[in-house]
């Protein structure tokens, strides 16, 4: 039976650009890929989806020669290959656009593209030829770039196009795009999709790694779903839907829309009065913000990134100096108090940048999980850490918040993004706060983790915690908040209730219109 299957597979090698057959890759304590078989047809856009830690990146890194599989076979255009490094993979026609761009900021676009394969004239670098070649490539595939601009001066979307051109310059016919949309604005995503279709038309095979289901539905021809290191679904895009993909991803039905139970907020627990905060360049970033949060209420702050939200959060949580104004928590003035005092009083904080603020990468999970409470009972006995209790508590937390792999000695930096966030969210919730600042809680996470974290936030709301939610994701703001404040250039443009407003109205406020102007204007029109 098995032999028969094998024969059947062998017949069709020519149809495929990439065949990954029975790939297994182990890391200490983790089976990252468990006999994974994925076959990608020539000229298709093939999406590989899965939650964080499902093994997508590990699989792609093996295809790109960064890791060697423990067992299994890689075939490119029907030929068996063993890659000892990316150089071999590039030679075989594979290009990869990483999530974090590998570009030299101070060099120009053309210089970056040819880096490592520079055209030469005699002994000199032939910049003229490089510029011309890059320009030709960009025109051929409709990838608009300014060949003479320095990388540091161009937007993220264009940087990504430079990465794509780089793969084409090296002769790639199979291009791996690792979560390419994570860093893009909605408009840039659309541009990327146009480029991807152009590439497909000219015969390239594309691998699209993502966990955003709507994007996968829009751009791909076929989909491979991974979960826990295994393939759990092979779907044809036009015959499937988001719900089916989500089920294969998380192994159960996912509620894509949350039911928010009505909940009556109680007294005010947290208040900010006319707050002024400066940013790192000593410019006013928060300019006179006032707001209140009541117990049992989620107050959402919407806004385009960089309008003072980060500075507001840091000032509230004691990480940045308040220039003017007051912060009142449980009736006490806590302006410019140290984070430890705020934590003692019952304020916790899910930081927007988990790698900078919320996590100590070289610390094991069990040290990360007690950060902020490490000096208190039961985690400390006087001056000494109580390792036994710390480890017991970590096991409990990892169980409760489903952190994987469930190894308490695993270093913070070695967990996948979603699992790092679960560690942080678990820590901040289990600290038993009265008020919580939640900034970008689901940035870069997959559907399963997003749903989980949203449920946790609503659960805390039902337990009468006050929650201040800061998010760039409008959908998140709308589905969780009881009230929405919109921030623009350090000021609040207006306050609305999600059921009484529209995305457009909030969008206008995000662009700098005050609520009174919008509603005033509309009333005039109506009259």
């Amino acid at each position: 039976m098995d032999d028969l299957k094998k024969d059947f597979k062998q017949e069709r090698h020519e149809d495929y650009a990439v065949e990954l057959i029975e790939i297994t890759k182990k890391f200490p304590g983790v089976l990252a890929n468990d006999r994974v078989t994925v076959k990608i047809k020539k000229g298709e856009v093939h999406a590989i989806v899965g939650e964080n830690g499902a093994g997508k990146s590990t699989l792609m890194n093996q295809l790109y020669g960064l890791y060697r599989p423990d067992s299994g076979e890689i075939r490119i255009f029907g030929q068996k290959k063993v890659f000892n490094g990316p150089r071999d993979a590039i030679k075989a026609g594979i290009g990869m656009v990483h999530q974090h761009f590998m570009l030299v900021d101070t060099l120009t676009v053309a210089e970056n593209v040819v880096l490592g394969n520079e055209p030469v004239k005699g002994l000199n670098f032939d910049l003229k030829k490089a510029r011309q070649e890059v320009r030709e490539l960009s025109e051929k595939y409709g990838l608009y770039v300014d060949v003479d601009a320095k990388i540091e001066d161009i937007p993220v979307g264009m940087q990504q196009r430079v990465e794509i051109i780089k793969t084409l310059y090296r002769g790639a016919s199979i291009i791996i795009l690792d979560e390419p949309t994570a860093v893009l604005t909605p408009q840039e995503v659309e541009e990327l999709f146009v480029i991807m279709r152009n590439l497909q038309k000219s015969g390239k095979t594309l691998l699209f790694i993502s966990h955003k289901l709507n994007e996968v539905m829009e751009i791909s021809d076929r989909i491979t779903v991974m979960r826990g290191g295994k393939v759990t679904g092979e779907l044809i895009t036009k015959d499937t839907n988001e719900r089916e993909i989500a089920r294969a991803m998380v192994g159960r039905d996912v509620v894509l829309k949350l039911d928010k139970a009505p909940h009556k907020p109680k007294e005010v627990v947290f208040e900010v009065k006319d707050l002024w905060v400066k940013d790192n360049r000593h410019l006013d970033a928060v300019r006179g913000v006032s707001l209140q949060v009541r117990k049992g209420e989620v107050v959402g702050i919407a806004g385009v990134a960089g309008n003072g939200q980060s500075e507001l959060v840091e000032a509230i949580t004691g990480l940045r100096k308040v220039e003017k104004g007051e912060i009142i928590f449980e009736g006490k003035n806590v302006t410019n108090k140290h984070p430890r005092i705020l934590r003692e009083m019952g304020m916790t904080h899910i930081a927007e940048d988990r790698l900078k603020h919320a996590l100590i990468k070289p610390f094991p999970a069990y040290y990360n999980v007690v950060l902020g409470r490490h000096y208190k009972r039961p985690f400390a006995n006087g001056a000494f850490l109580n390792h036994k209790e710390i480890k017991r508590y970590t096991t409990e937390l990892m169980e409760e918040f489903d952190v994987r792999p469930r190894i308490i000695e695993h270093l913070g930096g070695n967990f996948s993004g979603g699992n790092q966030q679960k560690l942080v969210v678990g820590r901040e919730i289990k600290a038993g706060p009265k008020f919580m600042v939640v900034a970008q809680p689901t940035r870069g996470l997959d559907v399963g983790a997003i749903e989980f974290i949203h449920r946790q936030i609503l659960k805390m709301r039902e337990q009468d915690l006050g929650i201040l939610l800061i998010s760039m994701e409008l959908e998140e703001i709308f589905s969780l908040s009881d009230r929405i404040l919109v921030m623009y250039e350090g000021q609040i443009m207006g306050e609305v209730k999600p059921e009484e407003t529209t995305i457009e109205e909030v969008g206008l406020m995000m662009a700098g219109k005050r609520l009174e102007e919008i509603r005033g204007g509309r009333n005039e029109e109506n009259n």
């Binding site: 949580t317 990480l319 140290h338 984070p339 430890r340 005092i341 705020l342 934590r343 003692e344 904080h349 930081a351 900078k356 603020h357 919320a358 996590l359 100590i360 990468k361 070289p362 610390f363 040290y367 950060l371 902020g372 490490h374 000096y375 400390a380 001056a383 000494f384 850490l385 390792h387």
Partner: protein, 344 residues
């Protein structure tokens, strides 16, 4: 367990490679490397006297290694162990010549305490400047090193000068001198070696078992996350520098109490800077630092005998330099180690 083996692998392989490269150099000057290394080992461990000499040289190296290693663990680069060591010895010398009336059980700990406090206070200046103004500790501790040099030469040529000939302070009271564990010929091994090993154990326990150790490591790894977790970065930087300085001060004061019994100005002879190499070779691990200090101490002691057969004693400096280079560039060694494992 695997982790322990891997962390030992880098320094051990580095030492082996360094010895091999140096062997080529010895060959190039027309000598027999096996014979030279034989003399080196004999000079360091071949007799009771040699062993004691090695241990005497090792004692302050353990302490300066711990001082710098502790700083590294806390994310500060204390390049000023040299100055803190001298400051510790100097302040202790000022007081300890008047401790004749005290019994040793009081005088010894008191002298040690003075030395540690002086080192701690001196290093804390750099810590305070870093915490308050952001001034980098590498710059400020080097400045403090020079400050110490001039203060020291002023004090022993001026207010504290005694006798004639080389500048020196008066001898410290007998009750403040460390007890001698072993005496062979003119060599006296004092209890300083025990103090240094106790200090290593202290550092291990402090860093891995206490809440303050947790905080200092957190600040060293990620000051932003530490502050977010309610850990005062400023306080811990000052504290880390002070503890690092206290260890360096202890190095100075054990030299004073156990070896010279006087303050001689340039008493440290670069041992503070050796602490940097030792911390690197020992991977900032207290136990590793003990062995790294022993290695350097043995090389220094054994090199004299090697010189008698016509191989310059500076060969050991070459060995030391290659070891540091390889440990600092540990990827080279790890790659070799990984390849070996694949083959095996």
């Amino acid at each position: 367990m695997k982790k322990i083996i891997e962390s030992i692998a880098v320094p051990v392989i580095s030492v082996v490679i360094a010895l091999l490269i140096s062997a080529l150099i010895i060959l190039a000057i027309g000598k027999n490397p096996i014979e030279a290394y034989g003399k080196l080992i004999h000079g360091a461990f071949g007799s009771q006297q040699a062993i004691i000499d090695t241990l005497i040289k090792t004692t302050p190296l353990i302490l300066t290694g711990l001082a710098v290693g502790f700083g590294f663990r806390a994310g500060v680069f204390n390049i000023g162990a040299e100055g803190q060591m001298a400051m510790g010895a100097l302040m202790a010398a000022v007081f300890a010549s008047n401790f004749g009336g005290l019994p040793p059980a009081v005088a010894i700990p008191l002298t040690m305490l003075i030395g540690m406090l002086a080192g701690a206070g001196w290093a804390a200046i750099a810590g305070f400047l870093k915490a308050k103004t952001g001034a980098h500790e590498v710059v400020t501790t080097i400045m403090l090193n020079w400050t110490t040099t001039y203060i020291a030469s002023f004090v022993i040529t001026g207010p504290l000068a005694t006798g004639s000939g080389t500048p020196k302070s008066p001898e410290i009271s007998t009750s403040a001198q460390l007890p001698i564990l072993m005496r062979v010929g003119a060599m006296e091994l004092s209890a300083g070696i025990i103090i240094s090993i106790v200090a290593a154990i202290f550092m291990y326990v402090f860093l891995s078992k206490t809440t303050t150790g947790y905080e200092i490591k957190a600040v060293g790894f990620n000051p932003y996350a530490a502050e977010y977790g309610g850990i005062s970065v400023a306080k811990n930087i000052v504290l880390a520098m002070a503890i690092s300085g206290a260890l360096a001060g202890l190095a100075g004061v054990t030299e004073l109490m156990g070896v010279h019994h006087r303050f001689l100005g340039e008493l440290s002879g670069g041992k503070g800077f050796d602490g940097i190499s030792i911390a690197l070779i020992g991977q900032n691990n207290p136990i590793g630092i003990i062995f790294a200090a022993l290695l350097i101490g043995a090389l220094r002691t054994g090199s004299n005998e090697m010189q008698f057969m016509g191989v310059s004693k500076y060969i050991v400096i070459i060995v030391q330099a290659i070891v540091i280079f390889l440990v600092a560039a540990d990827r080279i060694v790890k790659a070799i180690y990984a390849r070996k494992k694949v083959k095996a």
